[in-house]
Amino acid sequence: MSANDSPLWEFVNISKAYPGVLANDKVCIKLMPGSIHGLLGENGCGKSTMIKTLSGVQQPDSGQILHKGKEVRIADPDDARRRGVATVFQEFSIVPTLSVGENIFLGNMPRNRLGLIDWKTVNDASARVLKKLDIELSPETITGSLSVGEQQLVEIAKAVAMDAEMVILDEPTAALGEHEIEQLHVLLRKMRAQGTSILYVSHRLDEVERIVDEVTILRSGKVVRESGETEINVSEIVAAMVGEDVSEHYPKENNSVDDVVFECQNLRTRFGVNGASFDLRKGEVLGLGGVLGSGRTEIAHAIFGVDKLTDGALLLNGKKIEIKNEMQAINAGFALVPENRKYDGLFFNFRASGNITAAALPRIARRGFLDLAAEAKGTERLMNELEISPQAEKKTVNFLSGGNQQKVVIARWLFSEANILIFDEPTQGIDIGAKIAVYKLMNALTRAGKSIILISSDHDELLAMSDRIAVVQHGHINRVVGAGELSHDDLVRASSYGDAGDARPAAAAARIQTNSNESLAAEAIQ
């Protein structure tokens, strides 16, 4: 830690009210230079409000903001930037069609005397920034061709290039795999050593535990634990966030029985599934473990009819079935809760009911017309059962919290009465309370004899909630083992291409990802 003991930024009794909610209630926080400060709390606890205040997006109603001890007013985002505050939001702000260098200097491109962009300076200066951070990327690479993890690093390099003293990271690892998270952490530690203050917001508590120096925990707009008051370990943090002791963080029930309900034999697609075979039992949660880009989502797509099978067979209750498109998959009793509910999960123009019934319209249609009464009744029942906010039926679903949105997507497949549910990253970006609700729902489903294929990058979750785990590598299932026989480290090692000792594993993973076609071909020859 830095020798400097006075805070870089300090919030004193900051309050901010929105119509009907006190989003921040006399919040105090001290952000020290050369320190990684975790800002934690459930969705709606006031974290985003704080970030918006510090990044100049909005003004507090009352309270003081001190910058190096002097009271300041952060007028707008531009003002925040001038004062050295850089915010990396959850949704990336990089432009995929531009080069790494262009992205780093986007908004303040160096010009030459003619007013044209000075490419030499762009490339040299961005190369210097990348070197300083030990990011081995060329400034001239087109950003869209990089892996998500590398794009995230570019995003942070951008903050560093503008000499930010304060970097706010909002859910920086939501889209990253284990290796990429590790590389991000290496980078953050480096920045910390260089004296940067980092405000780190994440729902992934295991990773918070690893990286942060101090934590502030918010609940309902108030600070419930100031920095130094809490030991930085997951169970303490969870208890403080939820306000009660959550001993049952992973309330796993074992409902698996021996009957095999579904079997994949040697599945292959042109999109990275390379001879995947496994079986799924009644009432079982089968976890698919593996790094980002290992082919887990692609296996889900192969089963659900999104990607065409080039080889292999699907057996449902011992009988071979053909699934050529999503409709056939749904009719056969499959469900897919996609990885990114915003991108391909939700209809933001519909309320909860329209979202819930979308996959089973024939169920409520008579001669082409919808039985709206039946729809309302079915929706209401599921909303009660899943404890979805009643707001969900008053407004379109874009107004809901991430947890409620995810429940709406899951409710869709309860309404369609699916028997085999594929959950792709079902708890990504939702708060701990909603996560536990999703886990309980998984229990209820398996108790009812349904089976779940769980894809998750949260290894603790995967290990705790699965009955068995299939380790996926290069779109191929290496082995299937009981979840109890595997430790966190085993899982990381088993899915990490045997190069766990590599100093730059993320780059290795990215390389394999971009060259997947060649490596698949190479493997096929072997």
Binding site: V306, I330, L346, F347, S353, P362, G368, L370
Partner: protein, 326 residues
């Protein structure tokens, strides 16, 4: 759940009333029964075509082909009646079928050929006008059939027939969009095509159907156009597609798809026609009319886009007042 008479109707309805009020205040001839009946005739063609344009927009597409398709269909229709000796009761359904098929064709090219609808229908806008010129050496065909005029000018219970067409087709459209599986699928495809695919909706088929509906409604408009002037001409329908899209937009439809109400499109069409009528009655030149139409479209979309800012501005006015009171 979506309801037929939901909040989406209030804005366009209010806009229509305000415009009508302004026009009524500037000229006493506006509320004249003869003028009102004339209005319903004037609005009918664009409002009927706008049903199709709106449905295409709800599914996140755009149809630029309507105006040229009207010209082409009036020429085919005139050719059938005048030169081929096809009786009117055969020619009428035939034109409706041709319209629906042309639209379906554009839909197939768009959905299955993965060409943006802006491009497919822009190509059709140009090509259909050209095709219309291939009939009768490019000259209009007049005096088709005396019976034809009844289709447009006929009356029932003292009301012009086009009024009943409007009621019938808008009722049908409202029922389909709000109560049918197809309507729900159209909104789903427009709202989020990627999610629609994963919920088992046949996105391409739904897209193609919206263009078939648009083609059908364009044919209805073309028949009224022929009946109104008892003729067919390759010059009919210029900019009609833009007026129909404007009606949808003024009615609050989002060009990004997924949001809009077909009854609000009717309000949008009426708003536009009332403004044109008001300018006519006040003897404004047609150049001014087009400028005003342009401004209305900007204003309608602007109000929709700036809704958040407007409400924030209003609440700040109110908030500022209470703060100073404290």
């Amino acid at each position: 759940m979506r309801r037929v008479f939901d909040s989406q109707l209030i804005g366009p309805f209010a806009a229509m009333l305000i415009v009508a009020l302004i026009v009524a205040l500037t000229t006493d001839r506006f509320l004249d029964p003869g003028n009102l009946s004339n209005l319903s005739l004037q609005v009918s063609i664009v409002a009927l075509i706008a049903i199709g344009s709106s449905i295409v927009i709800f599914a996140a597409g755009i149809d630029l082909s309507a105006g040229s398709m009207v010209a082409l269909l009036t020429m085919i229709f005139a050719q059938m009646l005048k030169f081929a000796g096809i009786p009117i009761f055969v020619a009428l359904p035939a034109i409706l079928l041709v319209g629906a098929l042309l639209g379906f064709g554009l839909g197939i090219i768009t959905a299955y050929g993965r060409i943006p609808s802006f491009i497919t229908t822009l190509a059709a806008l140009i090509a259909f006008r050209g095709l219309a010129l291939t009939f009768n050496n490019g000259s209009p065909i007049f005096s088709l059939d005396p019976a034809l005029e009844t289709v447009f000018y006929g009356r029932l219970f003292g009301l012009p027939l086009p009024f009943f067409y409007l009621v019938f087709f808008y009722a049908m459209a409202a029922i389909v969009m709000n109560f049918s599986k197809l309507g729900r699928e159209i909104y789903a495809v427009g709202g989020n095509p990627a999610a629609a695919v994963l919920t088992g909706i046949n996105v391409k088929k739904v897209q193609a159907i919206t263009f078939a509906i648009a083609g059908f409604m364009t044919a209805v408009g073309a028949i009224l156009m022929s009946a109104r002037l008892n003729s067919g001409s390759p010059n009919y329908g210029q900019t009609l597609e833009l007026q129909a899209i404007a009606a949808a937009v003024v009615g609050g439809a989002s060009l990004a798809g997924g949001r809009g109400n077909v009854l609000a499109t009717l309000m949008g069409a009426m708003t536009i026609v009332i403004v044109q009528n008001g300018l006519n009655l006040n003897a404004a030149p047609s150049s001014v009319q087009n400028v005003v139409l342009g401004l209305i479209i900007l204003l309608a979309v602007g109000i929709d886009m700036w809704r958040a800012e407007i409400s924030r501005f209003l609440s700040r006015l109110r908030g500022g007042a209470t703060k100073s009171a404290r």
